[in-house]
Every structure is written in structure tokens, then in C-alpha cells.
């Protein structure tokens, strides 16, 4: 807070975010829609659960990765702490779920 003036000097060299970002976001979005449609269609088509379940879970994970890395800017530099906390939360959450499912 007190060092705001010095901070701003560094930020002066900031580049305008490129318009390419919009294209990336739209492509990510298109992929998400496709993945969602695939998941819905697989279930709607009544395929065998032992194929469908792992596939739709994998599709969900890919979608979430897109959200985190593209929409939430986790791909940008200086995001190691955010990445650490969100992965820790996800990992521990997964442990909670697995243990509760195995030994309810």
C-alpha cells in the first residue's frame, strides 16, 4: 500500500492485452460446448456405463482445466500460489470423496 508509487512505475511498461485473447476464449468455449454435447449424447444414446462414466468424468476434468487455465488466467505467470491452493483443494477434496465412497 505504501509502496504504491513504486509499484506503478513497474506497471507502466504494461502491454495492452492482445485481441488474440478473445479468439482463444471463444475457441475454449467452443471446445467446452462440444465436450458437453458429447457427454450428453453418450448418456442419451444409452451406451454401457463402464465406458461412459470414465469418459464423461474425463471430459468434465478437461472442461474444468479450460475454465481454470484460460478463463481464470491460471496459465499466466505469477499464478503459482493460486495454482497451489486450487490443486490442493481439489486433491484433498478428491481424497474426502474417495474415502467416503469406499467406507461410508
Amino acid at each position: 500500500m505504501s509502496n504504491m508509487p513504486t509499484e506503478s512505475q513497474h506497471a507502466r511498461g504494461q502491454t495492452e492485452p492482445s485481441h488474440g485473447a478473445v479468439r482463444t476464449h471463444v475457441i475454449s468455449f467452443a471446445i467446452m460446448i462440444v465436450l458437453t454435447v458429447v457427454a450428453f449424447v453418450m448418456v442419451g444414446a444409452g451406451m454401457a456405463p463402464w465406458i461412459v462414466v470414465p469418459v464423461i468424468l474425463a471430459l468434465a476434468v478437461i472442461q474444468v482445466g479450460l475454465q481454470l487455465y484460460d478463463f481464470m488466467h491460471l496459465n499466466q505467470r505469477g499464478h503459482s500460489f493460486p495454482a497451489f491452493f486450487i490443486t490442493s483443494g481439489a486433491l484433498l477434496g478428491l481424497i474426502f470423496i474417495v474415502v467416503l465412497v469406499l467406507w461410508p
Binding site: A11, T36, V53, A60, R77, G78, G89, G93, F96, I97
Partner: protein
């Protein structure tokens, strides 16, 4: 002089937007990511609860009898699209285009409201089919998980609306930017949770897993 974290951070910030131009902003953004880590644990606990209890339908309807794919599909479409409009809003903010930012945030709020409307319709239908909160352990767990998510969406709608009011008044400033940015993080996170909800609750529920 040896390595100084501040300087490294400053170099990192070159690529980033206005939201991290002040220490206050960086605190807000990091703090909010940390909070989202905690939210992971929160929703994981709710998912675990749901997965533990989903077979306990007693005399009430089962997931397979209950869920309608098209309804869920529409809701999903609304929420996914709102995630895109949210990030486009942040893009506009980074370019300092306030009107564009407000427009995108407005669309995001509308899509959020549309999602909530679908969910309200869905819940009313279920209750009409004899699937209330107290029907069975399964119904309690279902409403807890999906309702908690819906509550998050509703909160996000209110939050972003208030931010829009403020943005109208003050414009994009170094103090406003982090607030808008974390609201967008929140919105994307809510979307992330929904992806797992439609997969684990609805799709797997319809398959009878």
C-alpha cells in the same frame, strides 16, 4: 543484492491486468484464489455427502425416474455461455472499455438469472412429482448439493449487479478492477462446480449409476 520476491512479482505483473497493479489488488486476487481452494473442500464434502446417500431413495423417486436431460442441457448451456461472457468482460476491462465491460457483465447476469429460472422450474417439477426435501436421504442430499450451487449462482448475480452499479458511478479504477476480477473468478468457479454436478449428479444419475 540477493533475489527479492517483490521484484520478481513486479516482472510477472507486466503481463497482468489492472487488478494486480496495487498491493491491495494483488492481496484481493490471491486471497480470493485461496478462498476458492477452500470452496473446493466445501463442494467436495457436499459431493461426498451426495454420493454416500444417493442410493437411499426409500419410497421416493430415484434419480433415473426423475431427471430430464433436456432441462439440464439448457441450464448447462446458459451457465457455460455466461462463463464466456464473463471472461470477455474481463478482457474489456483490461482494455479499459467500460461500456463493453458493463455490457458483458449485464449479459452474464441475465444468463445467470436464466439458469436460476430453469433450476426453479426444475425444483418445482420435482416437488410436484413427490420429491421434496424431506422425502428421503437421497432427496435431502440432492437439494443440498444442487441448492448450494444454486445459492452460489444467486449470490454471484447479486454481487455482479452491485459491481455494475459501482462501475457506472466510478469507472474502471485500480480499486474497482480487482473487485470485478475476483467476481469473475467466482463466477467461473461456480461454472466449474456445475460441470461436475451435471456429470456426477445428472448424467450418472440418469444412467442409474
Amino acid at each position: 543484492m540477493e533475489a527479492q520476491p517483490r521484484l520478481v512479482n513486479a516482472a510477472d505483473r507486466m503481463e497482468l491486468g489492472l487488478e494486480t497493479s496495487t498491493l491491495e489488488g494483488r492481496n484481493k486476487v490471491l486471497g480470493f484464489w485461496v478462498f476458492l481452494g477452500g470452496e473446493c473442500a466445501l463442494f467436495a464434502s457436499l459431493f461426498a455427502t451426495y454420493l454416500t446417500l444417493r442410493g437411499q431413495t426409500l419410497n421416493g423417486p430415484t434419480a433415473k425416474e426423475l431427471f430430464h436431460l433436456p432441462l439440464v442441457g439448457v441450464a448447462t448451456l446458459f451457465l457455460l455461455t455466461s462463463s464466456l461472457t464473463g471472461v470477455l468482460g474481463i478482457n474489456a476491462m483490461h482494455q479499459g472499455r467500460r461500456r463493453s465491460l458493463l455490457r458483458w457483465l449485464g449479459v452474464t447476469v441475465l444468463l445467470g438469472l436464466a439458469f436460476l429460472a430453469v433450476q426453479v422450474v426444475e425444483f418445482i417439477t420435482y416437488v410436484g412429482e413427490g420429491f421434496g426435501f424431506s422425502t428421503s436421504a437421497f432427496s435431502s442430499a440432492f437439494y443440498a448439493l444442487v441448492g448450494f450451487h444454486g445459492g452460489h449462482v444467486a449470490f454471484g448475480v447479486i454481487w455482479i449487479s452491485i459491481l455494475m452499479l459501482q462501475l457506472k458511478k466510478s469507472g474502471i479504477t485500480a480499486r474497482k478492477a480487482p473487485k470485478v476480477f475476483i467476481a469473475s473468478l467466482y463466477w467461473h468457479f461456480v461454472d466449474v462446480v456445475w460441470v461436475f454436478i451435471f456429470t456426477v449428479v445428472y448424467l450418472m444419475g440418469i444412467m442409474g449409476i
